[in-house]
Amino acid sequence: MTRISKHLLAAGLIAVLGLTACTNTRQESSILSVGKSLIDSRRAQPGAKPQVDDGIVQREIGRALQSTDGPLALMQIEGTGSVAVLRVIETNGPHSTWAAWGTSERRSVSTRGGVITSTRGLGTDLMSSSINGLLTMVSRRQDGIESQVLRHLDGENQIEETLAYCAFTPGPRQDYAAGALRLQATRVDVYCKSDTGTFSNYYLVSQNGRIVKSRTWLGEGLGYFTLSHLR
């Protein structure tokens, strides 16, 4: 409420200061589009988490598996309750960029070794991460401490680095079943501490060292994302 009311106030002010009502250029946003973005951002406020019915999700997964032979994954955003089936749209070395399957919506996440390293188009995006040590630790299912770096844009579009020290604790083996995958995996719990707070991630690692599922904290704005590989 507070953030929105402040910005609505400023919007009113700026609207009379220099906005145009209609135009044929890209340069000037019209009043209508300002109103729309503010309403959109209000709708995007967390609070009312839509509960996506698991039946629908399973049906979507089934359809996606049938329609393509490529990699697929299920992404869940804890903060908003959103769920999406993702497909790989591009690869660059060890990185893959994923977008929602079955739509052309331009929002994406990139992964390395099955773990999300950046997001685009989600707001307060994770711009890049350094997770070398993390990947080694998790795939070997070792305990110990490693650091990781998350990079975001601050209010002035400068890269702001969050350096976190993380403690890795491998747990017992468990079954993992999602999409076309049925396997035994080891859960590695990771507790991380940065200047500004703490967060708890976990990773499920298969026998041959592949991370098949991860719950990772992507920053204050995005919160926790869970990525479950389906193939």
Binding site: V16, T23, Q27, D40, E90, G93, R106, S118, Y165
Partner: protein
């Protein structure tokens, strides 16, 4: 198992992440009754607002109004501009309005054992009703309690003075005269007195304050508009949210009052990083695919590549104006009307190129076009683009090469369909008149239509027509006693019209004279008050933070109805000269501050210079102040003594969380007189091309991969 995690957790604890103990140096979101950051009431403290914080405070108690704009210029320096009205205090006005400027600097930070110490000047240029200086110390005790003690001079040394240093001219309405001078000789002189107080943060939102005031309200008591039965003041402040606070206070056992503060921080946009959709990812070439040059000999292939480039850039809301394609390199000519962070426009352009160009093309060049002329050329190797996509952004900045387009060499010609091109927009406008003693805020609302016709490379025909719908600007009857040619003081006469008016109608030619040199000639109805011809040359190397410019104008005053007619140069204060112009130096200090120095001849024929200093935030916010000193004496200039003011720019993207180049700008002058006034002409060169040059692009480089 348990043993392991315990060990791990202990080690984590011992890593000694930096503590935040006293690091915040007495930050506060509260502002006092003078609108200055601080937890007390009438008295100052050594507290500061967070860096960059901007607040507007309105305080009222019986017969006293104050509106103050405060800005935390740096972590240590606070600046304020205030407009205060007092009923019945002056013999000549029913309400006496007064403008004042304050500055405060935190000299020492708080430590475990010593307080923060600040030195401040209140009303240090102006007519002096509030003039005072102080040294103040504030110490926090625990998280909630802050204790302040200080020594004040002037108004702040007027009650129960403890002594006196030197002499100080007392305030009198007769002496107030033209105001606007720095009375440096009086600073920290005359009677002094101690003041002090405490503030207690009772809850997260509620702050309680009590103070012992050393301000005797001499003038107000003498006029019988305020009684003072104790030196004690009390207040209760409630922080509704980050952007709004309310306060109730009791003054001197006699008066109750209230204050409202709105505040924001330019560093806090609606959504950090923006909510715009994802860019296309880089398409990585297959191994050894770069050796295939077969495409260069296929007929029609180049045309098809150009078409798909154009289409793809369109989807990224960028306009492709031209392209040159070779076996090993490609050069695109781009018009960016969308992204206020130029780095983002460049990053998106390059990624589109990586997806559309044949694999043999290794070097990518992007020339940015502003007003039809090349503003800069950026080169990036495709291998680097592929290699750095998921790396920290600073690595891509190191790999980017910026050159002056003319020095770089050839750049693509525009496609035939680029010119001519017509742009239009229609929207509301708001025009205000501030600080008229008869009515401090007047405004007009109306409709404005703008059009731009791009005739060819660098040729722009531009016009703007307005029609007032409602407002009371025409009620201002400014008695004009200016002793100078009336170049700006007749504003009221320009606001009388109810007919459509022409804001400007010009033809401009932008050009490149040589590497690092830019030119502009504008002719026609240049602004509301003047028609004529304006010519400008700018020197600005693409990697330089320094620019030098020169401008020469031939001007003729326009009719007050702002249609097509011109009026005589002869005014009661003198004849408006034909020529004016300036040489200018612009320098980006690189630490968030930008300076500008203009020297030359002003509209009224006076010679002098203007100093402007802006705090510039990388997201586009700018807040600055300027002052002009010319050979016009302060008595000839009239009230205010010299021209000065505050200017600001608010990027709309900050508010929307979406990229847009649109911004709202404004200038607040305590007074507009005829000395030190410049011509206002659209599209001056520095602001036109600066955004495409490396220092400015590098500032918001974080958006390159966004």
């Amino acid at each position: 198992m348990i043993r392991t995690s315990t060990r791990v957790l202990i080690t984590l604890g011992l890593l000694g992440l930096p503590g935040l103990a006293l690091a915040d140096n007495l930050k506060t979101l509260t502002t006092n009754n003078y609108g200055v950051p601080g937890g007390l009431i009438d008295m100052p403290t050594a507290e500061s607002a967070p860096d960059g914080q901007l607040s507007t405070n309105v305080t009222y108690f019986d017969g006293f109004y104050r509106a103050t704009l405060s800005f935390q210029i740096t972590d240590r320096l606070t600046g304020s501009f205030r407009y205060a009205g007092t009923e019945g205090i002056s013999p000549t006005f029913s309400t006496y309005y007064d403008r004042s400027f304050d500055l405060r600097f935190r000299v020492f930070d708080e430590t475990d054992w010593t307080p923060a110490v600040s030195v401040g000047l209140r009303d240090f240029v102006g007519t002096g009703l509030l003039s005072s200086e102080y040294v103040v110390a504030t110490k926090s005790i625990g998280d909630r309690l802050r204790v302040t003690g200080g020594l004040g001079f002037g108004r702040l040394g007027s009650y129960a003075s403890d002594g006196s240093i030197g002499s100080r001219a007392p305030f009198s309405f007769a002496q107030a005269g033209t105001g606007g001078q720095f009375n440096v000789d009086d600073w920290f002189q005359g009677d002094y007195a101690f003041f002090g107080g405490v503030s207690y943060q009772a809850t997260d939102k509620l702050l309680l304050s009590a103070e012992y005031s050393s301000d005797n309200y001499d003038t107000a008591q003498a006029a019988g508009v305020l009684k003072r039965s104790t030196p004690w003041n009390f207040a209760l402040s409630y922080q509704i949210n980050d952007g709004m606070a309310l306060r109730a206070f009791a003054l001197h056992g006699e008066e109750f009052g209230a204050a409202l503060t709105f505040s924001l921080n330019p560093k806090t946009p609606s959504v950090k990083g923006g909510t715009e959709l994802a860019p296309l990812p880089v398409a990585v070439r297959g191994p050894r695919s770069a050796e295939d040059l077969g495409w260069t000999t296929q007929p029609g292939r180049e045309k098809a590549i150009t078409a798909s480039l154009e289409n793809s850039l369109q989807q990224s809301e960028l306009d492709l104006e031209g392209v040159t394609l070779n076996a090993r390199s490609a050069h695109v000519r781009i018009r960016n009307e969308k992204y206020d962070a130029t780095s983002q426009a460049l990053g998106r352009t390059l990624r589109v190129m990586s997806r559309e160009l044949p694999a043999s093309v290794e070097m990518l060049h992007v020339t940015l076009i502003e007003n039809g002329i090349p503003a800069s050329t950026m080169s990036f190797s495709r291998t680097d683009l592929e290699r750095l996509e998921h790396r920290p952004a600073r690595e891509a900045l190191a790999a980017a090469q910026f050159s002056d387009t003319l020095r770089f060499g050839d750049y693509p010609d525009p496609f035939p369909e680029v010119y001519p091109r017509f742009e239009w927009s229609i929207g509301p406008y708001l025009r205000t008149s501030l600080f008229d003693p008869n009515d401090p805020l007047r405004l007009d609302l109306g409709v404005r239509a703008k059009g731009k016709y791009h005739l060819g490379s660098g040729w722009v025909l531009s016009g703007s027509v307005g029609q007032k719908v409602i407002g009371n600007l025409d009620e201002a009857a400014q008695p004009n006693n200016s002793q100078l040619p009336r170049v700006r003081s007749d504003t009221a006469l320009y606001n009388q019209t109810d007919e459509p008016f022409l804001e400007h109608l010009t033809v401009a030619k932008y050009g490149r004279l040589a590497p690092d040199f830019y030119s502009r000639v504008t002719a026609g109805y240049l602004e509301r008050m003047y028609a004529g011809v304006s010519g400008e040359v700018l020197w600005k190397p693409v990697n330089s933070r320094l620019a030098l410019g020169a401008e020469l104008n031939y001007t003729h005053p326009r009719d007050f109805d702002q249609q097509f007619g011109l009026r005589s140069r002869v005014t009661p204060g003198g004849t408006i000269p034909e020529f004016n112009g300036h040489v200018s130096a612009y320098y980006d200090f690189g630490n968030g501050f930008h300076g500008q120095l203009d020297a030359g001849r002003y509209l009224a024929g006076d010679w002098g210079s203007t100093i402007t200093l802006d705090r510039e935030f990388a997201n586009g916010w700018k807040i600055g102040a300027f002052a002009t000193f010319t050979d016009v004496s302060s008595s000839q200039f009239g009230e205010g003594s010299f021209d000065k003011g505050i200017r600001f720019t608010v990027p709309l993207s900050w508010l929307l969380g979406q990229p847009t180049k649109q911004k709202a700008s404004g200038v607040i002058r305590p007074l507009t007189r005829d000395g030190g006034q410049r011509l206002e002409v659209d599209g001056r060169l520095y602001e036109t091309i600066r955004g495409s040059h490396r220092p400015e692009v590098a500032k918001s480089w974080g958006k390159y991969w966004r």
